[in-house]
Symmetry: C2
Amino acid sequence: MKPSIVKVFALVVVMTAALTDVAQAAGPAKPLAADPLPSWNDGAAKTSILEFVARVTTKGSPEFVPPAERVAVFDNDGTLWAEKPMPFQAFFALDRMKALAPQHPEWQTQEPFASLLKGDMKAALEGGERAVVQLLMATHAGMTSDEFEKIVSEWIATAKHPKTGRLFTEMVYQPMLELLSYLRANSFKTFIVSGGGIEFMRPWSERVYGIPPEQVIGSSIKTTFELRDGKPVLVRLPEINFVDDGPGKPVGIQMHIGRRPVAAFGNSDGDLPMLQWTAAGSGPRFCLFVHHSDADREWAYDRASIGGLNKGLDEARAGGWTVVNMKTDWKRVFAFEKP
Amino acid sequence: MKPSIVKVFALVVVMTAALTDVAQAAGPAKPLAADPLPSWNDGAAKTSILEFVARVTTKGSPEFVPPAERVAVFDNDGTLWAEKPMPFQAFFALDRMKALAPQHPEWQTQEPFASLLKGDMKAALEGGERAVVQLLMATHAGMTSDEFEKIVSEWIATAKHPKTGRLFTEMVYQPMLELLSYLRANSFKTFIVSGGGIEFMRPWSERVYGIPPEQVIGSSIKTTFELRDGKPVLVRLPEINFVDDGPGKPVGIQMHIGRRPVAAFGNSDGDLPMLQWTAAGSGPRFCLFVHHSDADREWAYDRASIGGLNKGLDEARAGGWTVVNMKTDWKRVFAFEKP
């Protein structure tokens, strides 16, 4: 070839490649739909979600899942909203204890209350699990269900996070809100399956997450039906009924939903049995762990943390589950962040 | 006035009244919608249902109830399907016991199994509640949830009622099926709240009643999560978890739904707490008892019957609740009846 022809040929090759790139970037001629997950960066995690939803909702596809079976379950603490410096229900219990303290002079000397009232968490927690249960029962039992709902509603309307100064209901993850909406727009029924108290979440789950009370599953204390002066009431008793954590999560799912989810979302080893139960179903399944990797915008913790993600990270790798790297996969963590 | 004028005046009054009657009977000029409850005879019971639904679904009405709050709860045995000569789950337990007997030679001498295998119900029931629990645990526990679902599905597909020779799923009340559909067409969410086993109802509730498993509430035994050779399973344990009957019904409603129903349907005193709980809510509420009054087409029983309606009849009268007289209010009881 003459040098000039070589040059022209090279130019044609380069131009063809460039035009192909442009054409591919532009995609098909039809206008692109608005991004349903705008707070998610493009990457493997986002792609895995979009691809799974496309697979199970495409009619005629061998992996099509009928709408009635599109059950998606979400852990709450650390998956839908933050859980540091401690699960937010613990702030509720402490605030409630302070509010009730004047009616309980004996708490000034009785543990764990005495230490808690002095703000000495470390001393209070020396009582171990028993101390936590005592605090929970003192603050969560002894009233009717209607009264408890009112107490929670009033608290959640004003209580603020100690670090950000935001309402706890603002400490929800914007990318997860988008994911909830996206799944519902694709006829998924979204459920919360949390170790937190079922009646602690219900008063605000519909407003904040779009999840109605009948789709909230959580831990509970026993309740009894009574007629008080002829008026029926449900009274909350100081006795644990069900712990919806770890191996309790698949049990809670079976009790409340009665069918196996096709998608499960968690962030800790306490969610692992729920993800295992979901993954073991036949047909297409989707499992995702949120990995707290962003110490600047949120918190960074996993293997070493109490209630953290350790075994789950290994199982996710082995099972090909999606692991969200908060730092790189999420454009925004909270809605209140400056974009 | 002259007599002739009086006559003309009287005629005008009479004609006006007559024309008004005709106009009212004819209703608005638009064509009437098809009757949503064709198996219900016209009468107070049917009218009370239609009027209640109109009141709570009319936008702008002071009694309007938003769709999300339109929760309707239904007892199952004796309310949605028949329960004579005994609750159908008891037939399942007996059939299951017979199927399992070859693996349990000890049952030949051990009560209540020995008497039950001989068909001597009376002797078997001398063991009282303990005998019933033993039968239930022997037939309902010891397998996984998936296995139990399969066992129930196979039984319900073929087992027949001893008197009518019909499948048990044909022993459902046609007027109640229409009522379920009518409520759902008006954006009610319909739930079963039954003393029967939650996992006994779920495998067929969607097909027969249009009620999905997550809207079935019932009695349960404990379940535990296990990994068997790495495969997650839920194992049914021989231990009672929750009795969803009598005062247990409002507790089950709170646990599973988390909001008070606006409408409740039952047929026995075991449903009374559920109806009381429903009725005591603020705003419009609807409570209905099915009264078994038709010995020809179904069965006739109430005050004297075990699991019958006694206190409930009095409370219904006092509270202005609807009592369905099966004999006069229902045009058809079962779909298989000749019209």
